[in-house]
Symmetry: D2
Subunit: 402 residues, 4 copies
């Protein structure tokens, strides 16, 4: 049995790379399962939502193995894995889904009923998401493998584009889900709040969907500069106090057809200085209602939590937001929330990558680092680095890039 090392959350602000157990064919309750595979990770990314845990904004226990963005090679499989084979190179959706319950049958794999005892929806290496070990490691177990895994049709070609394909496990479908829910279409004008990796993935998705104008807003000038470099319009929300006016200068109208919230509950008050201004969890939602065209859509892939123990006031601790709802109502807006159901989108996005329709790794500024560099990656990302860190635990991606 090969040795295994992984990125472990040890407490607020602290992650370490430690020896961990090699995965077993068992569910988190210790029951033997036939439907799983063991994956040798090719790449596994650091995600903004991991930061919520690492910053101590959640109830994540010390000892949690992190990582839900996983791409890799199948090295072992259970007896009821029929269509995936040892040797296949695959993308693992971050949502764990059984493929057999009502939400899964209806394609809502983000809220599967059978993979988490506490609430609908499961994920690898994440607090309250079912207790499945994370994938920032050499090896990880993937349940319901036939249903969950997306196999790349040509292994060699896939390895050549591994940094792009690595985004299929989470942020590319997450950004795409935001764009789709916002009803981005050919010719749309789009505003995206947040120039982090999800915001950039939403921007790339909007462009892929044919949007005429894609604007990204943020307060982090380094991220905005990168967004411009990869072809998007930008707005620095610190430098102006009227978003509609800034949009009008770019688009010609003081509104956009579709808006995407790629920030979530850790939003800060607009127009305030600092890497993060004063906490203002509803500020992005309220802004998007102002600038979205009548009858338009607001896609909300940014995370909003039911409990936020680290929040500055009682309302926010209970996940209670002050939303100017009448504004949205008067404009007949619609709002779409929740985790992206990755399986709804990853096949078609893979095709777009393989046929050179999108350079998603470049758009999100993917940076390949070793497993041991993971703690450094967490730190830099937390400070707002305009990068998406991709770990390479087994040297498979590095070898390719060389």
């Amino acid at each position: 049995m090969p040795s295994n090392r992984g990125v472990v959350y040890e407490g607020p602000g602290k992650v370490e790379v430690l020896n961990i157990d090699y995965p077993k064919f068992e569910d988190p309750q210790g029951k033997k399962i036939e439907h799983a595979v063991i994956i040798k990770t090719a790449t596994t990314n650091i995600c903004g939502s991991d930061q919520h845990m690492v910053r101590g904004r959640t109830t994540a226990p010390a000892g949690l193995i992190l990582g839900h963005e996983i791409t890799g090679e199948v090295v072992e499989k259970g007896s009821d894995v029929l269509f995936i084979n040892v040797g296949d190179l695959v993308s693992v959706p971050f949502n764990i889904a059984c493929g057999r319950c009502r939400p899964c049958r209806e394609r809502n794999t983000g809220v599967c009923l059978n993979v988490n005892n506490k609430q609908p929806g499961g994920a690898y290496g994440y607090v309250e998401m079912g207790g499945w070990a994370g994938g920032q490691a050499n090896y990880v177990m993937v349940p319901f493998a036939d249903f969950n895994l997306l196999k790349f049709p040509d292994k060699q070609k896939a390895l050549e584009k591994i940094l792009d394909l690595s985004m299929l496990s989470d942020i590319f479908p997450t950004g795409f889900h935001g764009a789709r829910c916002a009803a981005v279409d050919v010719g749309s004008t789009v505003y995206i709040a947040g120039a982090g990796p999800v915001g950039l993935a939403a921007a790339a998705s909007s462009r892929l969907l044919g949007a005429a104008v894609v604007i990204v807003g943020d307060r982090n000038e380094e991220r905005l500069a990168h967004a411009r470099d990869v072809g998007f319009e930008t707005i620095n929300i610190l430098k102006h106090d009227n978003l509609s006016e800034q949009i009008e200068q770019i688009v010609g109208d003081p509104w956009v057809d579709a808006a995407i919230d790629a920030v979530g509950f850790e939003a800060s008050a607009p127009g305030q200085a600092g890497a993060r201004g004063e906490a203002a969890p509803a500020s992005v939602l309220n802004q998007l209602m102002d600038i979205t065209f009548v009858a338009g859509g607001v896609g909300i892939p940014g995370l909003y939590v039911t409990e936020d123990p680290g929040a500055p006031n009682e309302d926010a601790k209970r996940g209670m937001l002050k939303i100017r709802f009448g504004k949205g109502w008067s404009k007949s807006l619609h709002f779409h929330t929740g985790q992206a159901p990755v399986l709804q989108y990853n096949r078609q996005l893979m095709q777009a990558i393989l046929h050179d329709r999108v350079q998603i790794a470049k758009v999100v500024n993917a940076a390949l680092i070793s497993l041991d560099e993971a703690p450094m990656g967490y730190q830099q990302f937390d400070r707002g680095a305009a990068k998406k860190f991709v770990l390479d635990p087994n040297g498979m991606a590095r070898k390719k890039a060389a």
Copy 2:
């Protein structure tokens, strides 16, 4: 020129029937128009949203002629009205729409850009909705008549069902829009907050869409008794403090597939006594997030306002609501707001009425009264009468019923 009398808002709590001008072929700015007709009203209903004005919760000026639910006969027409003729019996959608702007072309007639100088969307006899005279009168002018009007194919048959057809101008499409937006479908379980006319219309719509179970919740026992009489399940939200449990007793699961908010911003805190408990404008929205199945829809035809000068606190005055948004996000819910675009639905609902698929007048407990009884109707409705008052200004409906 015939004489004209109408229902006039004279100040908080005060409506009177007064002599008013006979309509002209002019828009509210006084410009001559070719696209209008004059309607002799057959029926015109009192609406819950009129009550917001009459209660003094808005900035409606004294002198406003009320009424946006209009059915009647065309008696005159402009030179560019080509497909509607004098003598036609028609339903008038409460939303005034030009039929020529982008939202209208995209079927979003509730947010037309050309009929109101202040904001998108217009209506008859309503504050901030463009200054068009209301239709609780003998005669009313309807602009863009070819586009807006729904002609009944057989005048005599229509007069026989005039109380049902009268609901096509607003509440039936409004309830239907709520159900459609909530994604009610064959076999759905549905919870509707509010047993007033819009709630009952949403219930009838849900049944028409094939819902398996339709539950209406309210605190007004008279309205709930009527809802049971016309075949719906009911929940008295005063008598229990856990809505999920009550739903589980009816449905077998502690959730519904779809939820509809037919209450809006004048909601009261659940579990509190009184015709109206303590104002709690977000309470319905927060409850619906609790009880809606994962990935489900919430339709929100109930009105939420951008400004509420009569509200009990500063947040509510600015239309700011405390919403437990993380709850909805964790369940991947979607939310649809705004006025119903009546023209999207009224033709098909007319067909359902004419072919006896629905008895909407009975469901909402339509009560025919004379124009002079309008002030009494406003009073009784404000007190929570389980009725939908239909005015009969020209005796056309009464004659029929006799």
Copy 3:
């Protein structure tokens, strides 16, 4: 191991009830499988599509065990069946689907890629559909059970409605698929070609979807009389030569909003006498193009085959039909073909049955017979009996009805 008897196709016009093997946990290629269950049949229906085989219009081999409409109780399960348990009463969709391939993930379970070596899509007891044993027997094996099976929430209540629930395995979803594809909606006028069980199920589905007028056309007066008995409008296509005129008399317009072909390739020329007139395989399609409103939909659940060795001419033998396609094009019609993907609809239709929104057994005139009476059932159905025969191999349904 219990003994097993089943309905066996022995050659054109000949079916017998014979002793057959008790099912094994093996796929048709003899490979051991972990994902299957053994079902003790409660009910199993005779289907019109079985008749194509029994009439000798296909290449079905002698010895084939018939039956793809199955409802029953789970008596054994494989090691990777996790959410279905022994003792559960379940509906079995006629389409066999793996739940793991691209079409299955996209809900197109009628064209699964993994259950049939010859072409996409599998079924029980059907020629060219993968070699899976049929279910007109005491016991039958169901693969990919967690994915395929629909469990009834309350076994006792379900047994009381077993004749209705029995229709969930095929014809109710098939009729519903036709209606959905034809875009039947609230207030629609609908014409359905064919008053057999699928046509009646399409009619019941249309009504459930809120259709204002539902018309069923056929040449079999007994079937039409039954259709009228259960509340539909009817047209005897033998008695008139202009379908539009007949529709106009019922609807008021010479068209319908939506049309459904519940006949398929064994259609006869309209206006010709005899239980079946001269073969005219495109006649239904051509008629539906005439009578469907502009931009309308045509749902085609009726079977069209790629090869028809028994057809009267060379074109028809190759599945080549003479279609007046320009007619459809000039009206901007859309056409939807293929097997119903039962899993897309059966849960919601089950809810409609369990909550008394539809009496599907009554609509299709279900008639319960014993396994030994199956040959008689085949004969009567072939002669056009206005009945849907339901076999009761283990006396479970009969006991209930008693």
Copy 4:
């Protein structure tokens, strides 16, 4: 009153530029209308569907003024034109639509009920389409102007892109409609039959919708060479007899996700030499059924006629096609026919042009010629020139290009 000259159909094979009447504010029945404008044409294109008339394949009468692809400046307007003004530069959808009937309200402007006495749907300068004068002229009248016209927001910028914007009146939306109906989506593989302007517009549309691979098939090598020049994959259907194999070489699978028929009823038998091989009107449809993935869509913007007097046999004369329908049924395909409803798409496609997301003029190889050169343009286009001819009757476009 300015003088007016236009392109007139004089009989099979013969078009001439003649003096014609200056347009009046009258409908084809001679009735005065308030809703029209007079347009001074900036550009007006020759369309493949004009060729059907010019070749004598229709009942078009001599004297017909041709031209339904019109872009220009408003020079006069009727009293009920409120939102379009003199001086506006506009695109005119080729479908004439009243904006007031049921199909128009439902966005199906290709089958308007009020603009043609003979059948649903009207167009400028086209046989059986309502008798409206064509726009290959200096001036043309456009009815229901507020509803029909798309105004360019910035006149100067629009003139700079006039060759691209000129494609908004017909072929760009027509190609886009084909792609949309075929359900082309991000990551799709697409096959388009026909490398003429509509096929190329469908290809550009597919790319704009995010398709991963776009393949165009034709027998005209000049057109295929141009298609390759603008970035599409191509297949010469004369050089191979198995389309699936050729697709597999490009895509890796022997199918595509979506297929578009941009040829229509004048198709020739595949694999046959000559600019046009033997007439085989169903050959494209039959091919597309072979190569489309299960549950996929087939978009059919290519014209199919109800009567084809010039066809080689009786069936084809009545618009009767031999279609291998069972093939499509076994794969659960869906088919969408008819004229594109231009107004559904032209605004968003305009945005894509104005913001440099697509170079449609380059893709279709637009060639600007004078009004007097129109007869030459018709001739060259009929011979299969890989060009889209754009007439410039008033020198407005030429001036710009200079």
